[in-house]
Amino acid sequence: MIALARALGRQTAVIVFMGIFLLFTVLQGSMFTSAINLSNISRQVAIDAPHVMGQVIVLISGGIDISVGSVMAMSSALTIGLQEYGAVWAVAAALAFGAAVGAVNGLLVTKGKIVPFIATLGTMGVVRGMVLAYTEQRSIPGTIENFGFWGGGSLGMVPVPLVISLAIMIALWWFLRYTVTGRGFFAVGGDKETAYLAGVSVARFQFTAFVLSGTLAAVSGVLLASRLDSANAQIGVDTPLLSIAAAIIGGASILGGRGGVIGGFLGITSLGMLSTGMNLMGVNTYYQIATRATVLIVVVVVDALIVNSKLSAARLPLERKMDEHLRKEVVIV
């Protein structure tokens, strides 16, 4: 019983995912679980998944990135706007742009010593301005014949962007878990001072996290450009909140030191199912926004309660020390 509760406590993402899936399966039956609908949901989720995973990495390293929406919009615009040079160069330029903005964020945080929230708030505004200027506030239609395949196409019943996002997820999961560089993010996010004293270059990891986040946001932008087959200045306004919520449902913490890309993927899928499920039920859009926020609050509170609970008393000394550390961060939250 205790073991089950402990085990469950670390699997918030899976529980939320299962819970939402069960709920809508019961409420909507075959309309929800039909191949078409699951395909729709997975396509929508797959396009948002890269920037969520980028957000997870930044959160793990102790930062936050709210410029993801604007970067997604600008890279989407570049992907379409530069199509005259060929799709490959357009996509490359878009990804390079994302990396560049990430680098700027990284420098602002490491060299400029600006708090990540403020730094990315600034770049968010600047990049949004660039999008509006570049598109002149009108939409740019795509001109390459089959470019819509990457965001809008399918291999059988499986949407293409899902394949791409899952591949990225697996690569990042392996990177975070099995490489020294990957684990370094956890160290830096968990306790900056200790990491520094242990010889880890905190600045380098923070910088890299932002560059990865920017590039992944650009990947989302490329997929979105392909799905809409056009560029538009109005996209990505809601995206920062969405990526943070998904990352936190997936187990990341605002205070850094934990999280996972698989959890993030489950988190965004949960939110996607929630949104589509409510659409299928005909729930008013405004209630949907409130519901999504409630899910996030419940996840954070339950997670805090489980960490704090007396169940954690019956554990190994090492685990109890870990709990002390986590309890400290929870109290602040």
Binding site: F32, T33, S34, A35, N40, S139, G152, N279, T285, Y286
Partner: protein, 325 residues
């Protein structure tokens, strides 16, 4: 570290697969769109932005007409986000409505989604903001307003007010949208037909929003010391421009809008706004439900169903005031 972790994930995966397998069926499941009059008319409506008076009026028109045709209408609002609109269109398609009604946020971005809807056999009606020309083949029709005539009516009003000579600015709707393009074209056509020598100094978007229009107009006032008239593509923006003018203390600038909103009509009566052109959004809503019903019955409908307009001036505002909304 926790052995339970693997157990939970395993249980979850098994449960998921079992559930999905039990309830999922391949292919379309919901009743195919039939031509029986006995079943209710199922409509799925995707707005562009529900936070605008003309959309409120449109919804009112649809809801009032719905009972006459036994219609069930579901509304979705993406709040001007093209990505959300595409997701909502796909979710609507999954609901298998009789007719899908879309008010395009971005005429180009909706094309792939509407194409997919068409390919799954759903009839699509565009309302208020049409799809881009390359996407029209996937839709049954467009129901909106004669926005060209609205611009023309305002053009005639401005030409008369300025005695065929002067400078003006335009505070426009979202670039590329049906109404934005048509209203400006109508305005210019009216000037051409009246042989008016009126210069359009600038056309900037107020994004159909009163506060954005206020900011835009303030900047236009700073840029151009000599403005005789302002054309706001809708009344909220015209009123926003009017606020900016009043705040600046500049006199003698005539402000025109489109819609015939209650506050605009009152403003015309009070001698503040100089005129507006009626937009019959409620009628557009009513027509949409009727056209959708006809589609369900298998009847052909016109490619475009456009609601007429009329100019509202200080002289005739008393007659039109109960039409204002």
């Amino acid at each position: 570290m926790y052995r339970g972790k693997r157990h939970v994930t395993l249980i979850a995966v098994v449960a998921l697969v079992t559930l999905a397998g039990c309830t999922a069926k391949t292919g379309d499941q919901a009743g195919s769109a039939s031509t029986e009059a006995a079943t209710p008319l199922e409509l799925c409506v995707v707005h562009n932005n529900a936070d605008h008076p003309s959309i409120t009026a449109l919804v009112k028109g649809m809801n009032e007409e719905a009972p006459h045709f036994d219609a069930n209408i579901v509304y979705f609002d993406p709040a001007n986000d093209p990505q959300k609109q595409v997701s909502m269109i796909e979710d609507c398609v999954a609901r298998q409505p009789d007719v899908l009604v879309v008010n395009a946020v971005d005429p180009v971005a909706v094309v792939p989604a509407i194409k997919r809807a068409f390919e799954s056999g759903i009839r699509v009606l565009m309302v208020n903001a049409d799809i881009a020309p390359e996407g029209r083949q996937y839709t049954e029709g467009f129901i909106g307003s004669k926005s060209f005539d609205q611009g023309y009516a305002v053009g005639l009003m401005i030409a008369e007010a300025l005695n065929n000579k002067g400078n003006m600015v335009i505070v426009a709707g979202n670039p590329g949208q049906t109404d934005t393009v048509n209203r400006t074209e109508g305005l210019k056509a009216a000037f051409a037909d009246s042989d008016a020598d009126i210069t359009i100094l600038a056309e900037q978007t107020g994004q159909w929003s009163r506060d954005k229009a206020l900011t835009v107009m303030t900047d236009l006032l700073t840029r151009f010391p000599d403005i005789d008239a302002v054309f706001g593509h809708d009344d909220p923006m015209a009123l926003g421009a009017l606020e900016a003018i009043n705040a600046s203390g500049r006199e003698g600038i005539k402000v025109f809008g489109v819609n015939g909103n209650t506050d605009a009509c009152q403003s015309i009566k009070d001698g503040e706004m100089a005129g507006t052109a009626l937009q019959l959004s409620e009628l557009v809503g009513v027509s949409t439900v009727r056209a959708a019903f006809d589609l369900k019955q298998g009847r052909l409908i016109p490619r475009e169903i456009l609601a007429p307009t009329a100019p509202v001036t200080p002289e005739n505002v008393a007659e039109w005031q109960d039409q204002c909304w």
